[in-house]
Amino acid sequence: MPDQPDSDNELSPQAREFLKVIQDDMPALRAVDLGDAPPATMPEAE
């Protein structure tokens, strides 16, 4: 399965560099056990 859509190929070198920074952080995110957590569309006030 590809990591990114095909349009990745159209990115500028600067965007690719930044994408690498983002991707470097992804293993830590993928390692998190999400359990039953739904997406937080807004921070919960209490």
Binding site: P5, S7, L29, M42
Partner: protein
């Protein structure tokens, strides 16, 4: 002079709001070419507004970041593409300031589209740090922080998506408050990342920030007493006290002892999820930023600064499943914070791990490690945008070279009163805001 004392002096007739406004405008004229603090100076509007200003602010001069819409006055967002953008109404927070008798003297400089922490701006010049003009004033609300520190107005409104109020406040030696997400209206403020954007006040003192927050929010806060006996202060031993410049480490050790001396109880806590927060922030912010900019970027990519162009563009190709993953981790982070706040009243961290870097050094490693100075600046602030908690930066000392340092105090959702209570008690004991003046530094 603080905002509170200026208001009192005007109210008592000791000071004329008109003369004060003229003096501030003249000072802006004398400093702005060199310090690049304002993008637009509103001399005519300010002199007209001050003549009709009433209570509670009585015409005290203020500024707003040039991300806030101002009716009939251009709002550039620090961007070339918005150089001639003139809104037809004020942002909600600007309206509230004006209705309260605040006089806006100008629109402050910022990182282009608020997308960065240095405020280095290719279109409008780089606002300078009042304590050392060869250094950045932080960002993205850098012009606002610099203006307040230089006495170019008694307060300012900034915005904060990853630390953009607190970082420049720390680097310029002033107070900056990011309220709880959603507490203050963002209507009429050019967005960066909708689910992370906050607006808030910046000023010289905690009392001044509290005054401004009550005006732009409309709800009263608890009175500031200076008493923090028995308040439980959470100390995050992992992540938030790691990889600090030695001056920051020393200042924070002293600050924590001071809080203890004031009667606070220090409690060791942990937020393990914070270690993954940069990835979460990037996965949420990047597509949101791109979504806003898409129509402009498609037509006029040449008008964007090189610094932000690639970062915005990258947001176009991230996977939606990773955005959802980040939003689910955000829920876990909020749950973790809720649990921590069962045992503490506030959390205290350094605002930044380093003092203000040199303008020519932001892309260089700041210490022995590989971390670039610009990257380090948001390390302790961004997490609290993700979870939406109220967080303030207050001065907590100076480096031996005279650069200010900031301490961050974080509270429960909508508990700005507790954040301000702890900040005020610490400030009254240390009075760093009154101990030195950037005018005494070489400029």
């Amino acid at each position: 002079m603080t905002l509170a004392s200026a208001v009192k002096s005007i109210e008592s007739g000791e000071l004329s709001a008109l003369e004060l406004t003229k003096a501030i405008l003249d000072r802006i004229d004398s400093l702005n070419e060199r310090m690049r603090v304002f993008i637009t100076v509103m001399r005519e509007e300010a002199l007209a507004d001050v003549r009709k200003a009433g209570p509670p602010l009585h015409g005290v001069p203020l500024s707003v970041k040039d991300l806030y819409d101002t009716k009939g006055v251009r709002t550039t967002a620090g961007a070339k593409i918005f150089a001639d953008r003139i809104p037809n109404q004020d942002a909600a927070a600007v309206s509230r300031l004006k209705e309260a008798g605040g006089v806006i003297v100008g629109k402050t400089n910022l990182h282009e589209f608020a997308y960065g922490v240095t405020s280095i701006n290719p279109h409008y010049g780089t606002p300078r740090n009042p304590w050392d003009p060869d250094r950045i004033c932080g960002g993205s609300s850098g012009g606002s922080a610099s203006a307040v520190a230089l006495g170019l107005g008694f307060g300012s409104l900034g915005t904060d998506t990853g630390g953009s109020i607190r970082i420049p406040a720390a680097l310029c030696g002033i107070v900056g408050l990011k309220p709880t997400y959603g507490r203050v209206s963002v209507r009429g403020v050019v967005p960066l990342s909708w689910s992370l954007d906050h607006v808030g006040p910046m000023a010289r003192t905690v009392e001044d920030v509290a005054i401004l927050l009550q005006i732009i929010d409309g709800r009263p806060l608890d009175p500031l007493t200076g008493d923090i006996k028995g308040v439980r202060v959470g100390i995050l031993k992992t992540y938030f006290y790691e990889r600090l410049a030695s001056e920051v480490d020393d200042a924070m050790n002293t600050a924590l002892r001071t809080l203890e001396g004031l009667g606070a109880r220090l409690v060791d806590i942990d937020l393990p999820s914070a270690a993954a927060h940069r990835g979460v922030w990037l996965q949420i912010a990047s597509p949101e930023v791109y979504s806003y900019h898409e129509p402009y970027l498609k037509k006029h990519p040449d008008q964007y600064g090189a610094d932000i162009l690639g970062r915005i563009e990258a947001g176009r190709v991230l996977l939606s499943i990773d955005y959802v993953r980040a939003q689910r981790i955000r829920t876990l982070m909020k749950r973790e914070c809720k649990s921590v706040f069962e045992s503490v009243d506030v959390i205290v961290t350094p605002t930044t791990p380093i003092p203000a870097p040199r303008i020519d050094g932001i892309d260089k490693p700041w210490g022995d490690g590989p971390e670039k100075a610009a990257t380090a600046l948001a390390r302790f602030t961004r997490f609290f945008n993700i979870v939406g908690l109220p967080a303030i930066s207050i001065p907590c000392g100076f480096t031996p070279g005279g650069l200010p340092l900031g301490m961050q105090i974080v509270g429960k959702p909508f508990d700005e009163s507790m954040v301000l209570r702890v900040a005020y008690a610490y400030e009254q004991d240390t009075k760093f805001y009154a101990s030195k003046d950037p005018d005494s530094q070489s400029r």
